[in-house]
Symmetry: C4
Subunit: 191 residues, 4 copies
């Protein structure tokens, strides 16, 4: 019931999240190229978060493509995921404006972690709604990326006490992990 | 006529409302965890309003799922509902920034009340459009939540003269009331 | 070709326009009800513009419902309409913050006028795309509202030199004119 | 797989980009017509960028209309295009507020260039997904506009070192080039 509207609403919210993050790229005072330089950390944070939100949209899209039923629990699990994603513009801006600071980098990682947990909860709700014959369950398989990512975010948060830039490296590598194509869902679709 | 576009437009407006509320979470000056502390009331207000807007989206989604016709009156009733929902970011921000103040909490409740009234009006318009055989009418049943909520919002508004935090408790409990799954519509769909 | 995506894109843009106008309702400094009073003209401007954008969405929705083909010219005419609608948040804010001033009221009316012209151009493009058998042409009929409105906006603009509030009255009455249900399109749909 | 959701998400992001650009039209201090004059370069930049985003939406719409399959690579290529489009509000605002300055005009052109490259990459991904029988490949044909535009943007960037307004003329003319109707895709659709 209502898969298309769940997708439409999620698309709307994710599209807005990904776009309002760019509002943090405040227009600089001067009009020389040098005036853009102080924006570099903000731009890099934006690129990282744009990548993450893009990955979430992409995965969300694939996950719903092979789900058949959307239960009431899944609707709430989806809103819960959107809540954590909606905090990305805030944590991105705070991290971008204080780019080597430990606390903003740790909070950024904590929101990444909560979004990953919320995604996992949504995935479970969708698998449960489809029952024993869930194509999504087969497609997920061992879900090693889904299990590894929270551990990496936790590692990143811990690293901020030592070197915040090491945490950022971990966050970026985790994103790259998801950019590598994953044939599981596509092969289930082709069945 | 035009149910899908009514849904699409409402999804768009609700998605934007839920997302621009987060813009009130202004990036703090400092870069320590302590700098986040003053944001707590703003964050809590955001969580409450995110919950309310999510509930409205969810209920709107279910209501339209079992409606068959959308009359001209329903289009206007829907815009009327969206108008009151569009004031949520303003009242949320005002309440968040002055969190124990009476007036912002009362105005927040007044907008909750008007949104509940507007939702009821839309529901009546949809029932009327579907005529005597309305599945929506059967699904609504006694509509005790829909009748109790405005009374609770009024009680909350009255409580602000005594203790604003009591009003906020009432608002939060009313939201929880709606989070409890409601099998009526799902059982009508399965018929 | 592509009617659904034209609708989806227009819905998106109109939904955002209607929602970002509310960002002009800046959170007041104080936390008493009296602090809300200076916002009254801004709120009234918002209500007027919300009504206008709602009317445009509603009419756009009906117009496309009975159009069959969307030509390349109609795509551009639609973007042209969205351009003028996108200026509503600006003119609404300027008028709201200077509510009895003549120039903002005149500019507000000029944007209303241009949007009405753009809507008429889009309507012509859709009628032309459907050819001699256009259901839209029959539904439009004499189009007296469409012809009267630009004249009323011009009258409103002229009135700003005398009494800006008289212009605002004209704008509000013109909006009410459109709120009165119009059975033409609904009767064509039922044929 | 999933063409409709790719369209919905892209429509959402593009609709938001086109609309938040107007937020740069800041409400002026005064309430005379003269107070609008300093906004002229910002308004002209907005018109140019509104045109460009509209062209991208229009072309994106046509391109997907005649594509049959959407591969994983195309999903990422689409996000890549949306990333560059999302920088338009920033470059538009910077150029508008410093309108005859060389650096903002060059950066504006660089983002136009990157968006054109990203569009070309997406087009290649869609052609590849559809295989040897791609209707899109036939519709694209020699793609002289797609090949000429990056050269014109490069020329515009180079011209900023001499006369920034010459660059703006080149950008505007390139936009006009795309506004001229292109019958290729429409004729392929009619086959």
């Amino acid at each position: 019931m209502g898969k298309s509207r769940l997708e439409a609403f999620s698309d709307g919210v994710i599209a807005i999240i990904i776009t309002i993050m760019v509002l943090e790229l405040k227009v600089p005072e001067g009009h020389s190229l040098a005036a853009l330089l102080p924006l570099t950390p903000v731009l890099l944070s934006y690129v990282l978060s744009f990548g993450y939100v893009g990955i979430y949209w992409n995965n969300h899209h694939h996950m719903l493509l092979i789900s058949h039923k959307v239960s009431g629990a899944a609707l709430w699990a989806n809103l819960h995921l959107l809540f954590w994603l909606s905090l990305f513009p805030f944590t991105t801006a705070w991290m971008g404006e204080n780019h080597v600071a430990a606390a903003p980098t740790a909070v950024y990682g904590a929101v990444l972690l909560m979004a990953a947990v919320a995604y996992w909860v949504l995935q479970q709700a969708l698998v449960a709604a489809d029952g024993s014959d869930s194509a999504l369950r087969r497609a997920i398989g061992s879900d090693w990326k889904g299990k590894l990512s929270p551990a990496l975010y936790l590692a990143g948060i811990a690293l901020t006490f030592w070197q915040p830039w090491a945490a950022q490296l971990v966050y970026a590598l985790t994103a790259l992990l998801w950019l590598i194509p994953d044939r599981r869902i596509e092969s289930v679709v082709q069945e």
